[in-house]
């Protein structure tokens, strides 16, 4: 038995023994996701048990080095681990922006001290991070951000306003892009800093979305003092880190749809809602055609995602091509939710009823409209493809 096979056997046994049955069921809603952090309250014993056991193994961040609280797995081991988790549909024990975004950034750009301070507390699920990028007047033009950080002794003094910070009202700390050189043009003059949300002068306001939920906030900074030691990377060089993370974020988009449609067969849902004709075909030929075209496109898109992943593993850079996945994956997801609404008909019009789980059809459909906006709009993606992949002339 190869080392890897041995590793697989170990992981499998441990997961079988330690993952509670309840943690092998798909999330019924976003509310069941474990975000972690100082204020976290587990909603079930199974959640807490699973969290504690995984934290104990360092498997909340399986590929991070052990000295920073991770699992220390090699890339191959990590693949094995993920496939074993998927095999039993194990839920993630804890996850937030610290795992997806800040961790990778610190591993690449952070000082040794920063790594030792922040990574272990992320891995242990003690600190919940949020991301402070967008600003009300920047939008897709992120580089035009205005939140300022002026040096005053050992501190930055931060003033300004961030928007679209996911769950800022529930996060403990924020990684944040600020303007440290007001005279520099655009990207130059931006720095990447870390701050505690409990610092005096930080306040947040949830933004209600058209879906009725409030996953995002506005965050206000009023003379917020942040230690200069919290600068990640070089002064005025924060754009490099931001770009790295933006690409990283895009990579995470474009997989399976979340929520109601996750792992569910749209055609089957439609058959149940609309009915079949005497030949067993969905009794709405146009919806049937639309669903078939969507399924074909989704299968084809997955083929490209797989190919891109395989190439990346083989060492080929993905680069701006991730914009292709972000663009198509999010547009596909919007189409998927539109078709779900077409299939559900009247149920899709209910906003609060029990039979719709509190209007989940409508709410998730509306939420999907944001997919092609957040993380870079479809228009921005098309622009990136046009300039960086196709190398078309500038206007």
């Amino acid at each position: 038995m190869s080392d890897l096979e041995e590793f697989r056997a170990e992981v499998r046994t441990w997961l079988e023994d330690n993952c509670p049955e309840e943690m092998r069921q798909p999330l019924a809603s976003d509310a069941e996701h474990v975000w972690g952090g100082r204020k976290w309250e587990f909603s079930s014993d199974a959640q807490r048990v699973w969290f504690d056991r995984m934290v104990g193994k360092g498997w909340t961040a399986p590929a991070w080095p052990k000295e920073y609280g991770g699992g220390g797995m090699s890339a191959d081991e990590h693949d094995v681990f993920k496939s074993e988790m998927n095999r039993i549909n194990a839920r993630s024990p804890v996850s937030n922006f610290g795992f997806w975004m800040l961790g990778p950034a610190l591993l690449k750009f952070g000082s040794e001290e920063q790594k030792r301070e922040h990574l272990p507390e992320i891995a242990r699920g003690e600190i919940r991070w949020c991301q402070g990028y967008s600003e009300p007047n920047a939008g897709s033009d992120l580089a035009s951000l205005k939140t300022s950080a002026e040096i005053d002794g050992d501190n930055f003094v931060v003033n300004g306003r961030k928007i679209w910070t996911s769950y800022a009202d529930r996060a403990d700390k924020m990684f944040c892009l600020v303007r440290t050189d007001p005279d520099a043009k655009k990207q130059a003059g931006i720095s990447f800093i870390l701050l505690d949300m409990d610092t005096p002068g930080v306040s947040t306001r949830p933004i209600q979305l058209i879906s009725g939920e409030s996953p995002f906030c506005e965050t206000f900074f009023d003379d917020v003092r942040v230690p200069r030691a919290n600068l990640v990377g070089e002064m005025n060089q924060g754009w490099t880190i931001a770009k790295y993370l933006l690409t990283h974020e895009r990579d995470n988009i474009g997989g399976e749809p979340p929520g109601l449609l996750k792992g569910r067969d749209l055609a089957q849902m439609a058959l149940e809602a609309v009915g079949a004709d005497d030949q067993g075909r969905l009794d709405d030929p146009m919806l049937r055609a639309d669903i078939a075209r969507l399924e074909i496109d989704a299968m084809a898109f997955r083929a490209l995602v797989e190919q891109t992943r395989a190439k990346a593993e083989a060492g080929e850079g993905v680069g701006a091509r991730s914009a292709m996945l972000k663009y198509y994956g999010t547009e596909l997801n919007k189409r998927r939710y539109n078709l779900m609404m077409d299939a559900m008909g009247g149920l899709g019009l209910e906003w609060e009823s029990e039979q719709t789980g509190g209007g989940r059809y409508a709410r998730e459909w509306l939420r999907s409209k944001g997919n092609s906006i957040e993380g870079g709009t479809s228009e921005i993606m098309l622009g990136i493809i046009s300039s960086a992949v196709l190398e078309l002339p500038k206007g």
Partner: protein
């Protein structure tokens, strides 16, 4: 078609009335339970006073006896202003159902109150999530002269406020229309909170006392056609409104140092959308006029108008949200209300697929 003088006057009247009385603030108040009813009572009162509730009621019963083109001018404003009133259910569907299918006595009983605004009528025909008017499980049972009906209906617009239901039920093996008073003890109304805050209900009839509406064999089709035609106009109105707001945003919002309306990719999409809106509006007006003229292909035209208006409105709303970027996703901006209403108005009385399917059938292929 171009509007005649009477229609142009009505168009101006409606535009002024809705500009004056209808507002998204009211919609927000109704949604939040901060209004005295689940529809805009002040606006409705103003419509009563202007005679708009009697727009399709014969003069003999106190109405204006105008045609669908005129009613469509009002419906367009309801879509444009996101107004919540029982106009569609009462002034159009109710007036057409009673006016065309009701016997003299029934007309006398109900048309006056419709025109006066003292009666709200609701159409109860659908039984599943998708509009399929031929699929009726609700049964009508006759015992002597008395008729009762039993069954469950969904997507009953303005059901919570209705004094009278127009209900489809199986009679002699095919669907027919009946009138049921809401006060009957066999009627149970369960309000549904709808995506676009439109007043809606599921309604159960248990041996509810009913009267047949069978003065005219084609009345059921007429009701459906009139309803689809009005929804087409509502969708056209909201398409125009969401597009106007989007154009304004394109002209004001700056990104990368330019007003975003200067970006050619957005310009071309906006230009395309503007053409779609013009075409859908022209189609809707032509279809309404065809109904008024009793044209042989009026049904086809109305199916085409509804299908097209639905697609256009959904495109307009989707482009509106996308072009507003993150702001378009917030409840604070009004743009999402148009998306929600476009979805509901598209679905009611047959979505674009339904209408296109029936269109192809009507054309014989």
């Amino acid at each position: 078609m171009i509007l005649n003088e009477e229609q142009q006057m009505l168009a101006d009247l409606s535009e002024r009335l809705f500009a004056d009385k209808a507002s998204v603030d009211t919609l927000r108040a109704i949604r939040g339970g901060r209004h005295d009813a689940d529809y805009d009572t002040a606006l409705w009162q103003a419509m009563v006073e202007s005679g708009l509730t009697g727009i399709l009621v014969p003069e003999a019963h106190g109405g204006m006896d105008f045609g669908l083109v005129s009613a469509g001018l009002v419906a367009r404003e309801t879509g444009r202003r996101l107004a919540l009133t029982p106009f569609l259910s009462t002034a159009v569907l109710g007036a057409i159902a009673i006016g065309r299918a009701g016997h003299a006595e029934q007309q006398k009983q109900w048309l006056g109150p419709i025109a006066e605004g003292s009666l709200i009528v609701a159409l109860a025909i659908d039984e599943t999530g998708k509009h399929r008017p031929e699929r009726v499980a609700t049964q009508a049972n006759a015992e002597g002269d008395a008729v009762t009906i039993s069954g469950e209906k969904t997507l009953v617009v303005d059901g919570p406020n209705a004094g009278l239901f127009v209900v489809s039920a199986m009679h002699d093996g095919k669907p027919a229309l009946f009138a049921v008073e809401a006060a009957d003890s066999g009627v149970t109304v369960n309000a549904v909170t709808s995506i676009d805050t439109r007043s809606m209900a599921n309604v159960r009839f248990d041996n509810a006392k009913a009267q047949r509406l069978d003065a005219n064999d084609n009345a059921f089709d007429d009701v459906l056609n009139a309803g689809r035609a009005m929804l087409a106009m509502e969708l056209v109105g909201l398409s125009r409104a969401v597009f106007e707001r989007t154009l304004t945003y394109l002209t004001e919002r700056k990104q990368f140092g330019l007003r975003i309306g200067a970006f050619q990719a957005l310009q071309h999409r906006a230009a395309h959308l503007s053409v779609e809106i013009e075409i859908s509006e022209a189609m809707a007006f032509q279809a309404l006029a065809a109904f008024d003229a009793g044209a042989a292909d009026a049904t086809q035209q109305i199916l085409a108008a509804k299908a097209r208006a639905a697609d256009t409105a959904r495109l307009a709303a989707a482009e509106g949200v996308q072009m507003h970027g993150g702001m378009g996703m917030t409840d604070e901006f009004d743009i999402g209300f148009f998306m929600k209403r476009a979805r509901a108005a598209s679905e009611l009385l047959g979505d674009a697929n339904f209408c296109t399917e029936r269109f192809a059938q009507a054309k014989g292929y």
